[in-house]
Symmetry: C2
Subunit: 344 residues, 2 copies
């Protein structure tokens, strides 16, 4: 007579853009923790572009979600029951419980969250993986110097908004790219970027040239596609390009018949002649920077130098549509699913 819960599983591997039938809502019995285990109740589920990659089974840095498996995802959870001496009932933890209401854990990889420091949802946002992605990629690979120009797309999103604001903190000029006037206004007026361009603008390339009169020194690559095409010719000598995502390409470049991008014939020559540095990374490559991150970022938040915005949908059932929207830029701020209220 166990309690029933809901979860989202991968129904089929998407061909191109994911569609509703690639996901399936399932009922399941809330599990009972065994020896050393805890039962987690998911409060916040983070939706992030990397999840598109887990839906494919090509070679990648992580194993794919199996067909029928629960969709992966970072979560903020409450410990409901614990047979593990490291955690007590009522603890709030950062977990990787996936797209489901309840999950078991053996405690490995969990991190306790102090609800007194900041709203607990920030643990999967500006003070979590997206914030750390921005912090590490920008500072360790991008290395912006005062007066240099940093360009980042998805600038109202979780990673992009932090990239531009950290660039400003470091004395660089920040130029954002976002979808639509409302987001661009927010990026420029609220987040304090120097400029923000609309990627839907047919004159994006010309506008970008205008917004970056001294060229581009750091391009934080998290979207690919047309934005990269516009950025590529404007890269300065010795430009650094941290590559952490290609959201615009996730559902297209996997096809073998896709025409080659415009820059294809010149990228290697540009790397040589301009002495460019392209470097891919994922956040766990820079795990050693976590102590610096968790010291500096909350301080910048408190000082008002770092703002963030959340875009919340309600209920685990909303996750597939919210995720498909995220891939198209329908979110405005960090995409979260409120799976359950803070208190059960």
């Amino acid at each position: 007579m166990s309690q029933s819960a809901k979860r989202i599983v991968l129904a089929s591997r998407p061909v191109g853009e994911p569609k509703p039938s690639d996901f399936r809502l399932e009922d399941y019995a809330v599990p009972t923790p065994g020896e050393g285990q805890l039962l987690l109740r998911t409060i916040w589920l983070s939706l992030d572009p990397y999840m598109r990659g887990r839906m494919d089974d090509g070679p990648s840095y992580s194993a794919p979600v199996p067909i029928g498996g629960v969709m992966e995802g970072g979560t903020v959870c409450e410990v409901m029951a614990s047979n593990n001496p490291g955690f007590a009932k009522g603890d709030i933890v950062l977990a990787h419980a996936g797209w489901q209401q309840y999950a078991l854990s053996d405690g490995k990889g969990l991190r306790k969250i102090d609800p007194g420091v900041a709203p607990i949802s920030t643990a999967v946002g500006v003070l979590g993986m997206p914030g750390m992605t921005a912090y590490t990629g920008l500072l360790e690979i991008g290395k912006p110097k005062p007066g240099e120009t940093v360009v980042v797309a998805a600038a109202s999103g979780a990673v992009g908004s932090a990239v531009g604001q950290i660039a400003k903190i470091k004395g660089a000029r920040a130029v954002g790219i976002a979808g639509g006037k409302e987001k661009c206004d927010y990026v420029k007026n609220e987040l304090g970027f120097d400029e923000c361009l609309d990627h839907r603008d047919p004159d994006l390339a010309a506008k970008l040239k205008e917004a970056c009169p001294k060229g581009i020194d750091v391009y934080f690559e998290n979207v690919g596609g047309k934005v990269f095409e516009a950025v590529f010719p404007r890269l300065n000598d010795f430009a650094r390009i941290p590559v952490c995502g290609l959201i615009a390409d996730y559902s297209t470049i996997f096809g073998k018949d896709t025409p080659a991008p415009k820059w294809a014939n010149s990228i290697m020559r540009a790397i040589l002649v301009k002495r460019l540095n392209f470097r891919g990374f994922i956040v766990r490559d820079f795990a050693s920077m976590y102590p610096d991150f968790i010291r500096e970022m909350p301080q910048w938040l408190r000082e008002g130098k770092l703002k963030h915005r959340e875009f919340v949908t309600e209920g685990i059932e909303s996750a597939p549509n919210a995720f498909m929207g995220l891939l198209k830029g329908a979110n405005f701020g960090k995409q979260l699913v409120r799976v359950a209220p803070d208190k059960a």
Copy 2:
């Protein structure tokens, strides 16, 4: 009644591969040094792939050679007359006198060579720019670790031969690529690479896979073209790709109608998923490493850990053909022109 000398000037900008009529042999009067100047007599002229770039007038890290201008090049010269207190008649210097028998200099950028350390020709070879290119790009960007696999093309040439031998000194596995059995035998048997493959082999991709059973951790890119195509799918996670030349592409990729290379649709995804690091460089970006270079390389030479080979043509008139041959891999070792005997 001044003495007459010979020089090679750029007659026209090549379209594709340079041809003999792109160069012109000229007579000119040996100049007389003015105040603060010296007269240099060229003994050795170095021919290097980068010169192909200087023949074009597209954007690059250096100004192009003007039409009618003397072809550029590193040289080893004797000071024949000096009105400069820094240099005396008889000094042997490393200069950038170009493709000519005599040149004036104000002394700037000259470096005195001690003929007691090594044959003076090594100042434009293994102990000069090509050696320094190998040393800095491999150690500063490639960073080979013991047991890793380093691949380099043009492996019997000035840069490639040093790259593989330095990789071996650092405990890595060195796999060379060269043109033809004779060069491959030399690279493997004389230079001590673990393997050397013939880039003319139609099965290059399969052979490379076999020669690199644990994949490729460092690819020192100095050729581009088909070698890069074969290397690209074999790159390991976290592979480093120092890019210092694209000799196979110099005369082709400039064309806008060239079909996109095979890797075009997947290079950005590979950078992301494999966390690759592509970084272009030229030797002067790493000028601060010169003291280390000039301490370590002569020592490795003396210890027999670093071997080198010179490929010499005679007389300034031979430079155009020798250079055109170099671009096709006709040289076997560091390409030099002996412009004049050591003693005038």
